[in-house]
């Protein structure tokens, strides 16, 4: 990441309402994108992230506010003058053209000479590792190859900005991870500025320099992957990004950042208070599975509880324990390697208050992607 990034794009109080809708699709959006940055718009479907991207590309018009590119307003700029490469979820390739013709399209509409185009097309094919496939028809390509063509086509005319709308959504997991690495490699090699839309939080954490978390048309948090993951700004972010346990309870006391919470099952724990919560407030306390310790590891932790193992869930490279607290709440814990776990076994667990956050209970969403797909 560049140390003193130049703001390339700036959203100023942007709002988008669709005709007849009372709730805006996007509201009060202030956002900057720095040159050379990989910025991800992350959120469940209907959260406004794609609308934001489409306003930037020029396919949607903001109903209020303005979007600036290099300090100039984009309000009067039609999409074809914005010089932004867009990669669409369904590839949006031209089925009546060969791979090379697809790649040549942005160059030929810019009036480039035929022999220069051929050289650039070869370069672009090499960049996405499709050398020699230029003559192919699109229906002779796999899904991953088509996505590479779409990527190359969005890059070949050296756009100021590359926009990607869930570009890997249609691919299976292994291919997705391979192409993530590829996109990151190309972004670094060419110093691209990318605005990337996804609902996949692990994709966002892997790729991004900064992440913007969207929910209900509003920005929930903007920050680096680490800060989003380690210090979520609210319960929505805590639940949406990464795996998290949510334990409902009531605040009994507060001392600065630290508060005492009585869980609904009766256990008392200490947590870091986020936001304006006073004694008596309903909260959700969150603790990530990997931050829960057990056995001798918990001696230094202020929260120590006796859980009972329900089951061990095997994931191949790691395992998860599903456990129940004495009061009946369940939580997921990272299983340490080499320690045998038996169902119904009594398990002393604990965590430290720094890793455990108490949020106002109303933003907690149990299953944030429940009906997203």
């Amino acid at each position: 990441m560049a140390s003193a990034p130049q703001p390339l794009v700036e959203f100023r109080g942007v709002e988008k309402r669709y005709g007849g809708g009372t709730r805006p699709a996007v509201a009060g959006l202030d956002l900057t994108v720095a040159k050379g940055e990989f910025l991800t718009l992350l959120g469940p479907s209907g959260s406004g992230k794609t609308t934001t991207l489409m306003m930037l590309a020029g396919f949607e018009t903001p109903t209020a506010g303005d979007i600036m590119l290099d300090g100039r307003s984009l309000a009067k700029q039609p999409p074809h003058k914005r010089n932004m490469g867009v990669v669409f979820q369904n590839y949006a390739l031209f089925p009546h053209m060969s791979v090379s013709q697809n790649l040549a399209f942005p160059l030929s509409v810019r009036g480039m000479r035929t022999q220069d185009i051929a050289a650039r097309v070869d370069e672009a094919l090499a960049l996405v590792r499709l050398d020699g496939l230029g003559h192919r028809r699109l229906d002779a390509l796999s899904g991953g190859q088509r996505q590479r063509v779409a990527l190359a086509r969005a890059l070949i005319f050296e756009p100021d900005l590359v926009l990607m709308d869930e570009p890997l959504g249609a691919l299976d997991r292994q291919l997705r991870e391979k192409l993530q690495a590829e996109i990151k490699r190309i972004q670094r090699a060419l110093g691209l500025t990318i605005v990337y839309v996804t609902h996949d939080q692990s994709e966002a954490l892997t790729l991004s320099d900064r992440i913007v978390v969207f929910a209900d048309g509003a920005v929930q948090q903007i920050g680096s992957p680490q800060s989003i993951y380690e210090h979520p700004a609210n319960a929505f972010v805590a639940g949406f990004v990464g795996e998290n346990n949510g334990l409902a309870g009531t605040v009994t006391a507060r001392d600065g950042d630290v508060c005492e919470v009585r869980l609904d099952g009766g256990e008392a724990i200490r947590a870091t208070a986020i936001g304006n919560i006073a004694p008596g407030a309903r909260v959700v306390t969150t603790i990530r599975p990997e931050h829960v310790g057990m056995d001798n590891g918990i001696d230094s932790y202020c929260n120590r509880l006796d859980a009972r193992v329900d089951e061990l869930v095997y994931h191949g490279d790691h395992s998860r324990i599903r456990a129940t607290l004495p009061g009946g709440a369940t939580l997921t814990i990272c299983a340490p390697r080499g320690r045998g776990i038996e169902p119904a076994e009594a398990l002393p667990i604990g965590w430290c208050a720094d890793r455990c956050f108490a949020f106002p209970a109303d933003d907690w969403v149990e299953d944030p992607l429940g009906d997203a797909q």
Partner: protein, 404 residues
């Protein structure tokens, strides 16, 4: 015995074969129905274009003798005697009509010549030599009549097909143009192709924007419009055409409106001419263009147009280079359907066209229903069928090279 789990290739084929027969058995009733009710009758009808059996049926001995004659000069007395005898016999049996009509198609006047000669022989005039026949009527000394008889002796003939192209075989055996007042079919064929082509072009120009509108609207609003497009389908051809008569006639609705608006002083001639034919046929055939194109346009990803504009194409360029090429299979399909259907139209031109706007199907109907010259009807149909099959073949080739 040990049970074997290995599958023999032969046994797989053995189990597949009955299944293939089953599928054939399922479509067999339809195939037989089509064969009996459509394919065989059509082929029998078309075969009349190249077969000639009237003379051979009625005058078998003369037909054999005519076939043996080399056609040079005038026939010998033996041939003349055979023809005269059978002419008299069929006249007395009341079946001379068939031969007389057939020969009259080729050489006008043959009919009266045959009847006159037969009647004179019945009255006692001798018919034992060529000289006897020439004494009855001097026209028997004209080789034209004998050549026509020789060509009509069958079993195969080029007469009908040549006549459909305004050509005939003259007395010397050469292909020659028929006289100008008889030459009509080439003109009608060319007119038929021209009208069909213009109608196909009009349908393309009028139908493309409609199909585009339908494809770009949300389904909820496109469906009522689609019903309006389909409305002409559900109206009988006669009602539709008559409605155009009401609208377009000299004192009709359109002329009335134009006059009231002060755009014209005297009524325009909108019907009973080529314009009326174009208007009515385009209206009737428009759905056949719009529907296939609509189907193709529905299959085009809207994001392709967005992608094109994000890549720097102006809306016009995006349309011309991305949208239009993808719709070409639909345009081709629709235009070919309209063109081939238009080739066969005759009711609409008959009702809203003038005398110079009749199409070849009108002539076919005339020969089939009124003059009962099925040989001509079959020959004209055969000549119409050839370009039609070429269009279908072109359409298939195009559909194979451009994926929809």
């Amino acid at each position: 015995m040990t049970p074997s789990i290995s599958v023999q290739p032969g046994s797989v084929r053995a189990t597949r074969m009955p299944r293939r027969w089953w599928t054939f058995a399922l479509v067999a009733p339809l195939l037989l129905f089509l064969l009996a009710s459509f394919i065989v009758p059509v082929l029998m009808m078309l075969s009349r274009a190249v077969t000639d059996h009237e003379l051979a049926d009625s005058w078998p001995k003369s037909a054999a003798a005519l076939s043996r004659w080399d056609g040079e000069g005038l026939p010998d007395d033996a041939l003349a005697r055979t023809v005269a005898a059978e002419m008299l016999a069929t006249r007395q049996a009341g079946t001379l009509n068939r031969v007389a009509n057939r020969l009259n198609y080729d050489v006008v006047g043959s009919r009266t010549l045959l009847y006159l000669t037969a009647d004179r022989m019945a009255a006692g005039a001798p018919g034992n030599s060529l000289a006897d026949l020439v004494r009855i009527d001097p026209r028997w000394a004209n080789r034209t009549y004998w050549s026509a008889m020789r060509h009509a002796a069958g079993p195969l003939t080029s007469y009908y097909l040549l006549a459909s192209l305004d050509r005939r075989i003259d007395a010397d055996g050469n292909i020659a143009a028929v006289s100008r007042e008889q030459a009509v079919f080439v003109d009608i064929f060319l007119r038929t192709f021209k009208i069909s082509l213009v109608v196909a072009l009009l349908c393309t120009m009028l139908g493309y924007p409609v199909a585009y509108l339908l494809a770009s609207l949300p389904e909820r609003r496109a469906n009522p419009l689609l019903i309006l497009v389909l409305l002409p389908f559900w109206t009988s051809a006669l009602v539709r055409t008559t409605a155009w008569v009401v609208l377009l006639q000299t004192n009709g609705v359109v002329n009335g409106l134009l006059e009231q608006a002060g755009l014209i002083d005297a009524p325009l001639q909108l019907i009973y001419n080529r314009l009326g034919v174009y208007i009515a046929m385009t209206h009737v055939l428009l759905p056949f263009f719009i529907l296939p194109l609509y189907g193709v346009m529905k299959g085009i990803e809207p994001s392709a147009m967005r992608a094109a504009s994000s890549l720097g194409a102006t809306p016009l360029t995006a349309f011309l280079k991305v949208y239009l090429p993808q719709t070409m299979p639909g345009v081709a399909a629709g235009a070919i359907i309209v063109f081939t259907l238009a080739l066969g139209y005759y009711i609409t031109p008959a009702l809203v066209g003038g005398g110079a706007d009749q199409m070849i199907s009108g002539s076919i109907a005339f020969y089939t229903n009124q003059s009962l010259n099925w040989g001509m009807a079959a020959a004209l149909s055969l000549l119409l069928l050839i370009p039609l099959l070429l269009m279908v073949f072109a359409g298939r080739t195009m559909a194979r090279t451009v994926p929809a």
